[in-house]
């Protein structure tokens, strides 16, 4: 096994960049959870639906920019529809009931997407090259020097990470500092009380689901161009779970750090521990990590403390 430093760093960076993509998906969950206290099972389906719509529009001959704008619009419309049809009749209900409703949304979106755009796997090319970029190479070093070929990083992963970083920064400012941020926390805590201080639930929900839809669009494009736009994309929900448990369901920065830890952790574990135990630990490593965190810090690394008077 290659245990040199450049190789370690290469694996680490690859893992972190994948982690950013995980974080992007997890972010959508955090937004809805912060605003309504429900785990939005449908987020994965929204990722898929957004990617499908984008590709479908491209195939119809719209340009990339127009397709993006139209898909964003569709996601906002979806938010309005969800608020009207699902959330409004369920105001003041238990979180578990709202959670069940999101499972319903998942299947509706899944089926609707197939009906609309067909169920074939579609390739998505964003026009970003995925060739490796080389850093810190020393070409004149003798053969056998670990630094001779430097560290290779996938250009596409790097771009995706940069986009995610900008998105996260904007969202963090929006939700932490504006009055909408405070309104969101209020709505998540208690619907009745929030209404009584003058917060309109419908407006808040449409805003949150729209933003979650836009985040789903961005992560749908990123993952879609990596894996192809196909129906297993919705199962990305399952990868977001350990990220959320690690970072805490209520924290935007938590989703990022959780994503990074999961991404880097599973890659490093696969490459460096995997061979010792027979490999293929990448698939379950994240879940084990999440379980350990649950034992020690049930609210996650950055989540709000769970307070209960007894």
């Amino acid at each position: 096994m290659d245990l040199t430093l450049p190789f370690f760093v290469e694996v680490l960076i690859g893992g972190l960049l994948t982690g950013v993509m995980y974080a992007l998906v997890a972010l959508g969950f955090v937004l809805v959870f912060k605003a309504s206290g429900i785990f939005n099972f449908a987020q994965g389906a929204m990722v898929l639906f957004a990617a499908l719509t984008y590709v479908g529009l491209l195939e119809l001959g719209t340009g990339a920019v127009l397709a993006f704008v139209l898909t964003a619009l569709v996601m906002v419309l979806l938010a309005v529809a969800v608020e009207r049809v699902v959330l409004r009749p369920l105001v003041n209900q238990e979180p578990i009931i709202l959670f069940m409703a999101t499972i319903g949304i998942y299947y509706v979106l899944d089926g609707f997407g197939q009906m609309l755009w067909g169920s074939d796997i579609k390739a998505l090319d964003l026009g970003i090259a995925s060739d490796p970029m080389t850093f810190l190479a020393r070409p004149d070093a003798p053969e056998g020097d670990p630094w001779k070929y430097g560290i290779m990083v996938n250009r596409f992963d790097l771009t995706a990470a940069a986009v995610a970083a900008v998105l996260v920064l904007a969202l963090a400012l929006f939700f932490q500092k504006t009055r909408i941020g405070r309104a969101l926390r209020a709505v998540a805590d208690d619907h009745q009380a929030a209404q009584s201080v003058g917060i309109g639930l419908p407006a808040i929900w449409v805003i949150v689901w729209s933003v979650a839809g836009l985040v789903a669009l961005v992560s749908g494009l990123a993952w879609g161009s990596k894996l192809g736009v196909q129906f297993t994309l919705a199962l990305i929900t399952l990868k977001a779970l350990p990220v959320l448990i690690l970072g805490g369901f209520t924290s935007v920065p938590g989703a990022i750090v959780g994503g990074l830890i999961v991404g880097a952790g599973e890659k490093l574990a696969e490459v460096f521990i995997g061979p010792l135990v027979g490999g293929a630990i990448e698939d379950w490593f994240a879940y084990m990590l999440a379980m350990l965190v649950l034992l020690v810090r049930p609210q996650g690394l950055f989540g709000e403390r769970i307070i209960e008077r007894i």
Partner: protein, 252 residues
């Protein structure tokens, strides 16, 4: 200031309120009393828009309507507290009170996000108002405590603080003294009277402690099984034979 005319509210076939009319005058403390299940809380819920009555109208500040959304009611100056405290449990006392100021914040979102310029001044101004209310209700010591950790009596006080932060024209208090000991009740009475006299807030009060009701109120309306039984000054109401039979409970 507020006039309720012929309100009826049904849940399926259960009649919660049947044809009730009464009014609230500017500056008074108006109590609503009655046995459990009389429809008192339902009445408050109609006034601030949680429930939409099937019949009747509510006039508030010269505007007549049947249904209003809760956030509209809040915008037009109706604040309330709840029978079972409804606070934002994860937030500190101060943050809870600041949510009451939310409707009054004006600066744009970008400025808020960057805590810049006009927003900075605005935020400071709102914070000052909140501090004034904190002083008023004597809860300085728990300013930063997450409200989920506070004892019940203090939570009720924070709830009142949040409602007062909205600078309401009409304040609806749903059993503000339930589950309190004598000392806490005395404090709460003092706050209610002070809010009424110093801030000029009109108050509608639901309360079971008859001593408190008779002391505080200017006028009292009595409900029983969703219907109005009596309406008048505390003295008139407590002398009413129907009220005594249904609620005050002198030996039969």
């Amino acid at each position: 200031m507020l006039e309720v005319r012929g309100i009826s509210l049904r849940f399926g076939r259960v009649q919660a309120i049947g044809n009730v009319s009464f009014d609230i005058r500017r500056g008074e403390i108006r109590s609503i009393i009655g046995p459990n299940g009389a429809g008192k809380t339902s009445m408050l819920n109609c006034i601030n828009g949680f429930y939409q009555p099937q019949e009747g109208t509510i006039s508030y500040l010269g505007k007549t309507r049947r249904a209003m959304r809760p956030h509209e009611a809040a915008r037009r100056g109706i604040a309330r507290t709840f029978q079972n405290v409804a606070l934002f449990k994860g937030m500190s006392t101060l943050d809870n009170i600041m949510t009451g100021r939310m409707m009054k914040m004006r600066s744009n979102l970008l400025a808020q996000a960057l805590y810049w310029g006009p927003n900075q001044r605005e935020e400071i101004e709102h914070r000052k108002r909140c501090e004034a209310i904190i002083d008023f209700l004597e809860i300085q010591a728990i300013r930063k405590t997450p409200v989920g950790r506070l004892p019940y009596g203090l939570q009720k006080r924070v709830e009142l603080a949040r409602a007062l932060a909205m600078e309401p024209t009409l304040l609806l208090l749903d059993e503000p003294m339930a589950g309190m000991n004598v000392e806490e009740k005395e404090d709460m009475c003092r706050f209610i009277l002070d809010a009424n006299e110093q801030l000029g807030t009109t108050i509608a009060l639901i309360e079971h402690d008859m001593g408190v009701v008779m002391d505080l109120s200017d006028r009292v309306v009595v409900l029983d099984h969703g219907e109005k039984l009596a309406d008048g000054t505390p003295a008139e109401v407590s002398a009413d034979q129907g009220v005594i039979d249904a609620y005050l409970g002198v030996a039969h």
